[in-house]
């Protein structure tokens, strides 16, 4: 095993070559080489979308896209730190929106410019069919846009690459919000529970809790009855 632990790879950053231990993520490899992530890093575990990055492999004409905290550095990779490139977000009041079919077009009209090049899909580190959700949005299918974009972590790589200057992730977020607010069926048990709360079914229990001191609270917590999963 020790042989493997000692193995190193070469990476290129801004034209300079570094030797780093094998088995590091792109982010770790860059940090190992002396680069600091002040922006462009957050959760370090593939959820926040802050660390979107691009790279090339030697002798591959394609540009590659990834999350720096997730993708393993490989021998011969050309790496960069991507600057933060915010995309404008439309202002809307979810409560006042009319969830008609062309509502996404109203707030993100540039989706009408999609040329179906699929570049966005190729760029997505979450393997989302990004073009398909833009296309669904264009034909007014809010539910499909919401469903297809569900795993989006707002990394912005699609938006950086789109020749039509579409703001995919903001638009898709709006679709999910509209879907949640107006289109998704409301679960019965939720409605039931809300009604109970409004009728004050829980009030006396809540009052008891509020009156407890810390010690009593801890005891009550330990003695709680858990509902079966």
């Amino acid at each position: 095993m020790s042989e493997q632990e000692n193995a190193t790879i070469r990476i290129h950053i801004m034209g300079k070559t570094y030797r780093v231990p094998a088995g590091l993520t792109i982010m770790d490899a860059m940090e190992y080489s002396g680069y600091r992530f002040i922006r462009g890093a957050g959760c370090r575990s593939g959820f926040c979308g802050a660390c979107s990055t691009i790279y090339r492999r030697e002798e591959d004409y394609r540009l590659q896209f990834a999350l720096a905290c997730q993708e393993m550095a490989e021998d011969g990779m050309y790496l960069v730190q991507l600057p933060f490139t915010p995309a404008p977000r439309s202002q809307y009041d979810l409560e006042k929106i009319d969830p008609t079919e062309n509502v996404l077009l109203q707030y993100y009209p540039e989706i009408a410019r999609c040329v179906s090049c699929n570049t966005c899909t190729k760029a997505c580190p979450q393997d989302i069919e990004v073009m398909d959700y833009v296309q669904a949005a264009l034909r007014g299918d809010i539910a499909r846009t919401a469903a297809l974009s569900f795993d989006c972590i707002q990394c912005g790589l699609c938006t950086m690459r789109c020749p039509a200057d579409i703001k995919h992730y903001h638009m898709a977020q709006m679709a999910r919000r509209i879907y949640g607010r107006y289109l998704s069926p409301v679960p019965e048990h939720l409605e039931e529970q809300l009604r109970e709360i409004e009728e004050g079914v829980c009030d006396s229990e809540l009052d008891k809790l509020v009156a407890m001191n810390e010690e009593e609270l801890v005891l009550a917590y330990a003695a709680r009855i858990r509902e079966e999963e």
Binding site: C114, S116, K122, R139
Partner: protein, 292 residues
């Protein structure tokens, strides 16, 4: 049963639902059902006219690849704009090896497009593969007494190599109207542009076009105008209220898709009909009823 590889286009899923509903219902009765391709994207609605532009062909070609994947070599659409765009794209790349090669290299995530998909408009299919007699036979409520003005607009007829009929003297819609025992109306503006996409930044231009086109149809005695294009339909229908504001005496002209006219006669689901016609076409009752 034979079936058609069907490309709906965005509008038919959105503001032109009645077009799809009626087309589906009619084609089912005519025993050549429309089967939607599984995954498709917006065709782009207008064909890019510059020689060097392959980027704007991608949308069409990607749809052709979907057709190819479905094991078909034909794509059928009822939207005139989709038809025109897809058709021109097919003429632009089918048998143009160099262009095909470039496009296929760009779309390296897809299987290569072989350049074999043919694009057809639903009207062509009805004329050439079903035939007017069969339409007439399938009719339940002949539309006797109804004067119908066909509106072709641009995209079904021009350019000549793309048109489904003679651009100077088209007859395909007239023949359809005949087959349904309605009276086809001849008028001067049946193939004149409605103003198309200029509605976005030159709406006044569309209002003027609508006035000319529909007044001409009205003078020729039309009760209703039929179209095959969601944009023509929108322009002709939606700008009439603006016309009314300008010209108080203006009388509204109902506008509907040709498939809706067929649906009424064949007594199948026509989708939402224009208000002024609803009374005449109340469910299950054709116009005049005839001897049919």
């Amino acid at each position: 049963m034979d079936r058609l590889t069907y490309f709906p286009g965005c509008s038919l899923k959105d503001e032109a639902k009645e077009f799809e509903i009626s087309a589906m219902a009619v084609m089912k009765v005519l025993e050549l059902p429309l089967v939607e391709i599984e995954r498709w994207n917006c065709c782009g609605t207008v064909f890019s006219l510059t020689e060097d532009d392959l980027m704007h062909q991608l949308a069409s070609i990607r749809n052709f690849i979907r057709v190819q994947e479905a094991g078909s070599d034909e794509i059928v659409t009822s939207c005139a704009m989709c038809y025109n765009t897809l058709k021109r794209s097919s003429l632009f790349v089918n048998h143009a090896e160099e262009r095909l090669e470039k496009i296929n290299a760009f779309m390296d995530e897809e299987v290569a497009y072989e350049g074999k998909v043919e694009v057809r408009h639903l009207l062509e299919i009805i004329r050439d593969r079903i035939g007017w007699e069969k339409v007439e036979e399938a009719m339940i409520y002949p539309l006797e007494g109804l004067s119908v003005a066909p509106y072709y607009g641009c995209m079904l007829l021009r350019p000549r190599q793309v048109g489904i009929d003679d651009p100077d003297n088209p007859t395909i819609m007239r023949d359809l109207i005949d087959a349904l025992w309605a009276t086809p109306v001849e008028y001067a503006f049946q193939a004149e542009c409605c103003g198309s996409y200029q509605v976005v930044d030159h709406r006044e231009l569309i209002v003027e076009r609508t006035h000319r086109i529909l007044s001409s149809a009205r003078r020729a005695g039309a009760d209703v105008v039929v179209t095959s294009c969601p944009l023509c339909q929108y322009n002709l229908r939606e700008t009439q209220s603006e016309l009314k504001e300008k010209i108080p005496t203006y009388e509204e002209m109902p506008v509907m898709y040709f498939t809706q006219l067929m649906a009424v006669a064949l007594d199948v689901d026509s989708g939402e009909l224009p208000g002024p016609l609803l009374a005449r076409f109340s469910v299950g009752e054709g116009v005049g009823k005839g001897e049919g």
